[in-house]
């Protein structure tokens, strides 16, 4: 007979992750509210570089994804994994290294992003030393998780654990491939992929950050905590298994739906669209499995705020996973892409699915590990309604403004001219929607504040059971097969096989999409007139990256008449072969800049100087921040040589030893621009050393945009 063993669950680590979830959740959402208000009141940028929209929007997204949801994942995993495995975490030391390491990464992100240290890849903005730290901490988490699974006392791996395993391995693969880069200095690097290839890697990564960071681990939490809260097993365990395999297999292919109608080859766009449509099936399988778990218990949903939070979370998951595939249909995407619709969509997921589930889990879990009762059910209900209303007041204005703006972009007069040729008109039209969205965000945050207060009161009324006593029979060392057993049970009992199975499944989609793009030259037809950036343009481009301009300005003209009419020739993949990073963007709060240096969009250098210094003096009503510091900061040219060297290593055809003379060319080009500005607008009063300032480099870069592919048509003019 097997002996019953006694052991203790580690609740202290769960508590730490729960506290971090609350803290970073509040911080991340407040930053979000601030950036939302900056769009309504541009003065809130305060002309502080570290507070401008471009720099702190990534801080908001990173804080919410990796700090709030990240800590929420670890809180839920550390609680549920121990109980599902009937074992304490493998190593307390690793648990703590994981916790403090992750917090350190968050603090590094919170310092570097506002200071402008960024790679600009969405959700992969952090610089290379932080990328390395993330890799190390993720490995620590993996060892701790697999160590726990291996020393478990429960034979079967419940489906939640499968989701945790798939999450771990896929995030590892995504993080490494997306962040393959060569440093040029302590905090700057260039990625090994460029242009269209980087775009595909980025959205393979970016979409699967949504899939495997915001979705699969939370599905694992749903499959554990929803049955717990409802006190009944999941509706269909069989469905959960099909759901799992189908979801991880299909999700990995869906990334290219972020690049529809761009220069990405058609075949990759089609793959992305088809697989995104297919995603409805497994996503809704999971959603229905969650909701149907409550069959026969709906009366309790009326009384139990925890179940209310979970029902809204799962419903929001269902809504956003219906909306996502619809937005992946090319003709529909032509409307939603670059517009606020996308912002509304992600917030239904982030606020609804992740936000509401996180608090549902915390309301359930914290009273238990503190051996007490929830301080106030009434306050939890208040939080629930503030949160739910907040989501509605957030999402609806975003859909409204998205549709409004897109309709304005594409409106033609009967004579075939754009009705709103000035992009700014399409922005000022939607400012009221931005204001209502900020109200929605504020409502949601006020709910979070009430929730945190309620949880603090709850925690202070109890005492942490840091080591919770549990007992379970030891697992027999040798499994005795009872007759003919099925392959899946073999996989289930062996987490490493499970890990490899998940890895193979997610790698298939990645390989088939990415490898042809990397290997096949035909995918990126070369354009003879496309040349590498000059040293000044290169430095200007890196400043454009530093300031996060890509957060509002795309550089990708889609092949629609309403876009070519507004911006000029549509973008081609061959234009981007020297672009590290690629800067196609995914949202147009300002106009596209791909043709900023040519045709009817071209402006004088002096226009750019005055516009960057104070956008509203040139374009009244503009909501762009003022970048006055660019006129004051000296351009750091000490980095030019290292940048040129790394880029040449990566295949950019700079002459050998060009790095030795690059700064001379840089100075010449800068002097030329300053001379032109002085001739055009002597009254701007440029300082004597104006050619040394950062703003000149950015102007050089902006004036370069679109030049390469028009150079032949406009010979003599460019």
């Amino acid at each position: 007979m097997t002996q019953v063993e006694q052991f203790h669950y580690d609740n202290a680590i769960v508590k730490k992750f729960a506290y971090a979830t609350m803290l970073w959740g509040l911080v991340g959402m407040l930053v979000g509210l601030w950036v939302a208000l900056e769009l309504v009141f541009p003065a809130l940028n305060l002309e502080k570089p570290w507070l401008t929209f471009g720099r702190i929007r990534p801080l908001h997204t990173n804080a919410v994804i990796f700090a709030f949801v990240g800590n929420g994942i670890f809180m839920g995993v550390y609680y549920s994994l121990q109980r599902l495995m009937k074992a304490r975490m493998f190593s307390d030391m690793l648990s703590n290294i994981h916790f403090w390491g992750w917090q350190l990464i968050i603090v590094s992100a919170a310092l570097t992003l506002p200071l402008g240290y960024t790679t600009s890849g969405e959700y992969a903005e952090l610089t290379w030393p932080i990328d390395l730290a993330i890799t190390l901490v993720w490995v620590v988490f993996g060892i701790n998780m697999f160590g726990t699974i291996i020393k478990r006392r429960e034979e079967h791996l419940y489906v939640a654990v499968w989701f945790y395993i798939a999450t771990w391995i896929t995030v590892a693969v995504l993080h490494i491939v997306r962040n393959l880069e060569i440093p040029t200095s302590g905090l700057h690097s260039y990625g090994i992929f460029a242009g269209v290839q980087e775009a595909l890697v980025q959205w393979w990564y970016g979409h699967n950050a949504v899939a495997f960071f915001l979705t699969t681990p939370y599905l694992g939490l749903m499959y554990y905590f929803l049955p717990k809260a409802a006190n009944r097993p999941v509706f269909s365990y069989r469905l959960s298994i099909v759901h799992f395999w189908a979801l991880i297999f299909i999700y990995i292919w869906a990334g290219p739906h972020h690049l529809l109608y761009t220069s990405l080859p058609d075949w990759a766009q089609s793959l992305g669209m088809v697989f995104s449509l297919m995603l409805i099936a497994p996503s809704w399988g999971g959603m229905l499995n969650g909701l149907l778990t409550l069959r026969g218990a709906w009366d309790r949903v009326r009384e139990d705020p925890i179940l209310k939070f979970m029902v809204v979370a799962v419903t929001a998951y269902g809504m956003s996973t219906f909306e996502g595939p619809m937005m992946s249909i090319k003709s529909f995407n032509a409307i939603t892409h670059y517009s606020d619709w996308t912002i509304g969509h992600v917030h239904v997921g982030a606020l609804g699915w992740n936000g509401m589930l996180t608090f549902g889990v915390m309301y359930w879990l914290l009273p238990r590990i503190f051996d007490t009762k929830l301080h106030s059910v009434k306050l939890a209900n208040v939080h629930f309604w503030l949160g739910t209303l907040g989501i509605i007041f957030y999402a609806i204005p975003m859909y409204w403004s998205g549709i409004t703006q897109n309709l304005m972009w594409r409106a033609f007069t009967p004579d075939g001219f754009l009705v709103y040729p000035n992009f700014l008109e399409t922005v000022t039209q939607i400012i009221p929607m931005y204001a209502i969205r900020a109200v929605g965000g504020a409502l949601f945050i006020s709910g979070v504040v009430v929730g945190i207060y309620n949880l603090i009161k709850t925690v202070s009324s109890g005492r942490l059971i840091a080591n919770e006593l549990a007992e379970a029979p030891a697992l027999p060392t040798k499994h005795v097969a009872e007759g003919k057993e099925h392959w899946h049970r073999w996989i289930e009992r062996k987490p490493v096989q499970m890990l490899i199975g998940s890895l193979i499944v997610v790698l298939i989609g990645g390989m088939v999409e990415l490898f042809p793009m990397w290997w096949v030259d035909d995918n990126v037809p070369k354009i003879a007139s496309v040349h590498p950036y000059t040293p000044l343009e290169l430095q200007g481009r890196d400043l454009f990256v530093r300031e996060g301009c890509v957060g509002c300005h795309s550089q990708m003209v889609r092949p629609f008449r309403f876009e070519t009419e507004r911006y000029g020739e549509y973008s081609k993949s061959g234009e981007f072969i020297y672009d590290r990073p690629f800067l196609w963007g995914s949202k147009r709060t300002g106009p596209d800049l791909a043709r900023e240096g040519v045709g009817k969009l071209k402006k004088a250098d002096s226009w750019h100087y005055a516009h960057l210094y104070d956008p509203r003096s040139i374009s009244p009503g503009s909501i762009m921040p003022a970048y006055s510091w660019l006129t004051k900061n000296d351009l750091d040219t000490s980095t030019t040589a290292a940048k040129i060297k790394v880029l040449r290593q990566l295949g950019t055809p700079y002459d050998s030893d060009y790095e030795l003379t690059a700064n001379e060319d840089l100075a010449k080009q800068a002097a030329g621009i300053v001379k032109r500005i002085n001739e055009e607008k002597p009254d701007l009063g440029l300082p004597e050393d104006a050619d040394k300032k950062e703003i000149i480099a950015i102007i050089a870069y902006l004036q370069r945009l679109g030049v390469d592919i028009t150079v032949q048509d406009q010979a003599g003019n460019q």
Binding site: P233, A246, D266
Partner: protein, 52 residues
């Protein structure tokens, strides 16, 4: 277009075939497995979260 690109890259058709075959295999096996499971096994595993 996809076929052309894959062909022009040399012998990488096997990737598309592998993807297709594995795609069906995964669905087929997981569906067959869930249909053929005995009720007592499914009940037992699905109650794991409630038994800790």
């Amino acid at each position: 277009m996809f076929k052309y690109i894959l062909q022009s890259a040399g012998d990488i058709n096997w990737m598309a075939m592998l993807a297709l075959v594995l795609f069906f295999a995964i669905f087929l096996f997981s569906t067959v497995w869930v249909i053929t499971r005995k009720k007592d096994y499914v009940d037992k595993v699905s109650r794991l979260p409630l038994d800790d």
